[in-house]
């Protein structure tokens, strides 16, 4: 007996709605089994993972802090992937944005005015967009595989940043430790509601970006162009769309948003540029984009869920001593189940009996 997929004539509305819940349910079951194997009470563990971090205001703010870069990067990627362009190097664009945006407070510490922060944000987006344009240009000009070039450029950006903060940009008063000077007050991204918690305007940017891109994708011609070129480049060309221009659009858009996330992280949550900036937001965001099924609004939900697993992982570690390794395993399982369940939207699964399978094999001979 084996599985066989039968394409549905139309994608299933029922499973579109149900599949995230089926996936979540399966993840919870698998998670419970994993926790039991680790010798922990699964109900407790799941409580600390998914409920405990939502109980207090400060923790909700932290959720926003953690989710903001994930959502910002992932909404850009969702458009990029919908257009069938595979930008795997958002981490590099995140760093490029952080570096270019930080250049103002680091190189011109005396320049203190309200205009500094907006300039930093714009430079951050420009840095990310420019870094994202490299694999786009290579793809259009030389037909180079963008998955691989964008991935390689991540390492280059990480090493360049490492060199900067240990060398030319190092804080002279920092006892030779890597890292730039702390940003002055005009260069710090403010918190939304400082009395309640640490969430900064980066989260608002993320929500706005998600809404704008959702609007673009579902209500404008540009969104239609993205989808047509993504599903069938040939059809897109007949419709008069340029796939070269689309490559640049997709990469600079996702790059700019990753760059914005980078500068928001540096000027909001951290307060200076250092060598520990890159902790994998750009890669985790790929997962977020798929968890949100490449829909900008879905990405918001997915970003929050994934951020919750980080916070919950900490809560579970403190309260019942679940190892932090469980977090990654958990995220991996969640993504597996979501991807698997989404298959149900487009396909029906049929079990083919052994005899039919054998007959099939015969015909192939």
């Amino acid at each position: 007996m084996r599985l066989e997929l039968v394409k549905r004539p139309q994608h299933s509305t029922l499973f579109s709605a149900l599949s995230p819940f089926i996936a979540l349910g399966l993840t919870l079951i698998a998670g419970a089994i994993m926790f039991s194997l680790l010798g922990k009470n699964p109900v407790d563990a799941l409580y600390y993972y998914f409920i405990d971090p939502l109980r207090e205001t400060w923790s909700l703010h932290e959720l926003a802090v953690k989710a903001a870069p994930l959502i910002l990067i992932a909404v850009g990627l969702s458009v990029c992937y919908s257009s069938n362009n595979w930008n795997i190097g958002a981490e590099g664009q995140f760093i490029a944005g952080a570096i270019l945006g930080s250049s103002i407070p680091v190189l011109l510490p005396g320049f203190q005015s309200w205009i500094v922060l907006p300039l930093m944000l714009i430079l951050g987006m420009a840095g990310g967009a420019a870094y994202g344009a490299i694999p786009a240009w290579l793809k259009v000009r030389f037909n180079t595989n963008e998955i691989l070039t964008s991935l390689m450029l991540v390492y280059v950006a990480q090493l360049f940043n490492d060199w900067l903060v240990r060398g030319p940009w190092r804080n002279p008063q920092g006892f030779s430790f890597p890292g730039t000077v702390r940003f002055h007050e005009y260069a710090v991204l403010p918190e939304i509601w400082p009395a309640a918690g640490r969430a900064n305007w980066g989260f608002v940017f993320a929500l706005v970006a998600a809404f704008l891109l959702w609007f673009m994708m579902s209500r404008t011609l540009k969104g239609f162009e993205v989808k047509v070129l993504g599903q069938s480049p040939r059809a897109g060309r007949f419709a008069g769309f340029s796939s070269s221009r689309m490559v640049f659009f997709a990469f600079t858009l996702s790059g700019a948003l990753a760059g914005l996330a980078g500068i928001c992280e540096v000027s909001g949550a951290v307060g200076h540029l250092n060598e520990k900036l890159s902790i994998g937001y750009g890669f985790t965001a790929i997962i977020v984009a798929f968890l949100g099924r490449l829909n900008p609004l879905g990405v918001v939900a997915a970003g929050l869920v994934l951020a919750l697993t980080y916070l919950g992982g900490e809560a579970a570690q403190i309260s019942i001593g679940v190892s932090d390794k469980a977090v990654r395993a958990f995220q991996g399982m969640l993504l597996f189940f979501v991807l698997a369940c989404d298959t149900l939207i487009h396909y029906r699964i049929r079990f083919v009996g052994a005899r039919a399978g054998a007959g099939e094999a015969m015909r192939h001979v």
Binding site: N143, L148, K325
Partner: protein, 304 residues
């Protein structure tokens, strides 16, 4: 001293070579598995654990290969049977591998492992200069060279290899010719997983015989880059792995000799070189057509 340096380079190159050869076969069949790092670390932890319990590094390598293959089947089931996105599934596999290996390995921390020794052939191993180089390394080193040879022969000299490449080049026509596209891809993915497992085992059984979390430290990603760097040619993978090994070892020697160079720049060189090579092979469309598996990363659903 010179032969010692070459042996060091060989040790650094071998795990990347094995993982990359496996991934090369996978990609030649048209599948992009970004989970190499995850499969490698699973191989490293099981290889270490089994060798520690049984005392036999050979059993450790066997277990590493089996676990790597099983882990890759998870990827295969999702991407081939359930046609999920290969990029996302590969990333999820890496996440899962890093997490699960950390949990399994907690018991092994701080324990010296079992090292697979070097072979020794009377007389030959004692030859000046080439003795150690040719006849005195660890068995897996020889396996990696044989593997390259075997894969090169298989892909370009056998009918089955031709079939595998045709699946990677154009799965629709391959299917029309009656080839079992999914079946062949399953086999390729499993082979790639077993290779990644062995490569991971090499880290925890030969390179540095111990278990430490995240001990692959990005070598799976380098193997992925290498496959493209080599434009999907086994012998070029071998050359690339040794070039990469030579650059990273050479940099350490340059430092010990007191040559001051920004180490970040040197570390970035392999990645920049890969981009340049990618550009060079891609700009010539004919060359690309010959080498690149055209169906790479695209899902295939047989319609009937």
């Amino acid at each position: 001293m010179f032969d010692a340096i070459i042996i060091t380079i060989a040790t650094a190159a071998t795990p990347i070579l094995i993982a990359a050869i496996g991934e090369l076969v996978v990609e030649r069949s048209g599948v992009l598995n970004l989970g190499v790092e995850g499969m490698m670390i699973m191989g490293a932890v099981t290889g270490f654990g089994v060798a520690l319990t049984t005392g036999s590094p050979w059993l450790g390598f066997l277990a590493a290969a089996v676990v790597g293959a099983l882990f890759s089947l998870l990827f295969g089931f999702l991407t081939l049977t359930l046609v999920t996105n290969q990029v996302a599934t590969g990333l999820a596999l890496t996440l899962l591998g890093l997490g699960v290996s950390g949990m399994i390995g907690e018991a092994f921390i701080g324990q010296p492992g079992v090292k697979m020794g070097n072979i020794s052939i009377p007389l030959l191993s004692d030859l000046p200069f080439v003795g150690k180089l040719l006849f005195g390394q660890d068995p897996i080193f020889y396996l990696s060279i044989l593997l390259t040879l075997a894969v090169a022969w298989f892909l370009f000299r056998t009918r089955a290899g031709l079939t595998l490449r045709s699946v990677g080049d154009n799965h629709a026509s391959a299917h029309a010719l009656g080839i079992d596209v999914i079946g062949i891809r399953y086999m390729a993915v499993t082979f790639g997983g077993a290779c990644a497992g062995v490569a991971g085992g090499y880290l925890s059984l030969v390179y540095t015989p111990q278990w430490i979390e995240n001990m692959t430290a990005g070598r799976g990603w380098i193997a992925l880059a290498l496959v493209v760097f080599a434009s999907w040619r086994p012998w070029r993978v071998l050359a690339g792995a040794y070039l990469f090994g030579a650059v990273s070892i050479g940099q350490l020697h340059a430092q010990a000799l007191g040559v001051g160079v920004p180490s970040q720049l040197l570390s970035a060189l392999p990645y920049l070189a890969t981009v340049v090579v990618l550009v060079l092979i891609s700009r010539n469309r004919r060359l690309t057509m010959i080498n690149t598996p055209a169906s790479l990363g695209r899902a295939f659903v047989p319609d009937r």
